[in-house]
Symmetry: C2
């Protein structure tokens, strides 16, 4: 079925408020869940919502944890997220980073002790909509082996970069350090497909495109092999050091789930006239002769196209997911 | 043969000065070439030096081009590199970014119109040695197809991140957006080896591990497939927009070589006590049970080990390369 954006958002908001979340917090969080769904990132939008309610019930998220500034120096602030809703804390952090960047040219808000931010790309789009270049990343629980290793010690630590375009066609990437998410791997298995490129190791230690084998070994492949492995380590260290928060290892030890993570939000203020370069580059990328039967998309283009369609026709929601959410509305538990 | 660091550096310095380069500029540049060689990055150290001399002769590098600050606002400066030596401009830019970051917590120097910075990792190590977190990247000439495309429109746009460790074991990554450099691909062919993972497309449009096929097609693979492709686009746009300099497309049109590029240098000031996390994470990564016959290295470890060996035993230089360099000393052309 397809649910109109406003109905989806109102539903999320109602459920969050029924769990004792303050009105403004519920509104910001609901807006994020609905927008991510509108952009086609259902895994971190409507499909993820019931899990967040379960985290609230289990106390892994503090529904009324408010972000608090604990340090300020020049263009840098450090905040304690007090385990509050991750998508609300992250939005406020990127908002503040943009505000500081309009004074200093570049600014950073480092956030510790926060919850999973859901779709990282949201904070890139947010910065771009305000006319800023956004750069942000998060760490996570350990879920990926380092290159050369055989046990999950790295986070998938998504990295987001966004550059605003004068015509609204912003360039945005949102990339986890694993080649595929477990959500994508599961989807391939359910569809009876193999992955287009290797996505992890099998139990025998060989690289494989078979989603079932990766789900068995729980060893996903870093994107770019040794490159994503190294980048994951650096993003983790930088996030923990700059925020004073937990490392991937400490998240694993404290929670064993994506809770109490560390995040960095950097905003940079471009000169408006320099932004002409964005359109020029994106048009050049699009002009590349495509492989047979394929297309070339610029980073952010698919989300933009999906958003347009979903805002017009409503957001596709799986029947079972909608039933679960309706049950939450009636005060039921998440499952 | 192995050449002692001081002799290598003095040789570079002498040759640069004989080409009319100022004393201080020659010293900084020579130090960079020798240090990159000491760290084992010969491709961007001693092996690359003759090419830089040829660029000076051809006027693609302006030996006395000095970086000039053209804009300043808060924690941000924009510089014009005036086509000067890339490794000198880049060192000065990262130095200034660290200086500004000690005042503002975070700072950026955006550099346009500069030359190839040689080994990007050098500026990460530089920031880390000064106790700063360094984040820098450059764009390049078009040399890689976008994901889904068939002609080279993206740069390999290396990205560098460094975090200082209190014990000097800094964590540093220096990664191009291509899975392999053409240098690595050539080396595999010369050794008669195949690449360990796909490194590009063959002329038939299939992914291949055969170095010869990739050299024929000139189509290298973005690291992480679509991920490195997207990241390359964003790094290019951000570098050009923030510096007011050339995009990858414009570099291709203006020079068709790595000249007149755009670069970003960001420095962040960590709290000294927070740096304990660095050692903890690196030790945890190293503790991963290795694959059979393999080892797990933290990012920066191999360079550190190589540096130690090369400073003690001298830097390995190929006979033919050393002959070429000796000829340059006598005032000869690059060959």
């Amino acid at each position: 079925m397809r649910i109109p954006f406003d109905e989806l958002k109102a539903t999320f908001e109602e459920i969050l408020k029924s769990r004792g979340i303050k009105e403004e917090t519920a509104r910001i969080s609901a807006e994020n869940f609905a927008s991510s769904s509108a952009d086609g990132v259902y895994t971190h939008g409507v499909n993820r919502f019931p899990k967040v309610i379960s985290y609230l019930e289990r106390g892994l998220i503090n529904g009324n944890g408010e972000p608090e500034r604990v340090f300020s120096m020049g263009a840098v602030e450090r905040w304690d997220g007090h385990m509050g809703l991750g998508n609300v804390n992250a939005k406020k952090a990127m908002d503040r980073a943009c505000g500081l960047a309009s004074l200093h040219g570049i600014a950073m808000v480092a956030l510790k002790n926060t919850s999973h931010w859901m779709r990282g790309g949201a904070y890139g789009w947010q910065a771009a909509e305000r006319g800023f270049i956004g750069l942000c990343w998060t760490n996570s629980m350990p879920n990926m082996p380092p290159w050369g290793g055989t046990d999950p010690r790295l986070g998938n630590n998504p990295l987001v970069i966004a550059v605003p375009s004068p015509d609204g066609n912003h360039a945005v990437i949102d990339m986890a350090m694993s080649q595929f998410s477990y959500g994508k791997i599961e989807l391939a298995r359910l569809k009876g497909e193999t992955l287009p490129v290797p996505g992890g190791w099998n139990k025998g230690g060989a690289l494989t495109c078979d989603p079932k084998e990766i789900e068995e070994s729980r060893l996903v492949l870093p994107m770019g092999y040794w490159k994503g492995s190294g980048l994951s380590v650096l993003l983790d260290i930088a996030a923990a050091v700059l925020s004073g928060g937990r490392t991937v290892k400490e998240i694993g030890e404290a929670f064993g789930e994506d809770a109490g993570v560390s995040q960095i939000f950097i905003a940079m203020k471009p000169e408006p006239e320099a932004l002409m370069a964005v359109t020029q580059v994106l048009e050049d990328v699009k002009a590349s002769a495509p492989r047979e039967g394929g297309s070339v998309f610029y980073p952010g283009e698919i989300e933009k196209n999906t958003r347009k369609e979903n805002m017009e026709r409503g957001i596709p929601v799986l029947d079972t997911v909608w039933e679960t959410i309706q049950a939450l509305k009636k005060g039921g538990s998440h499952g």
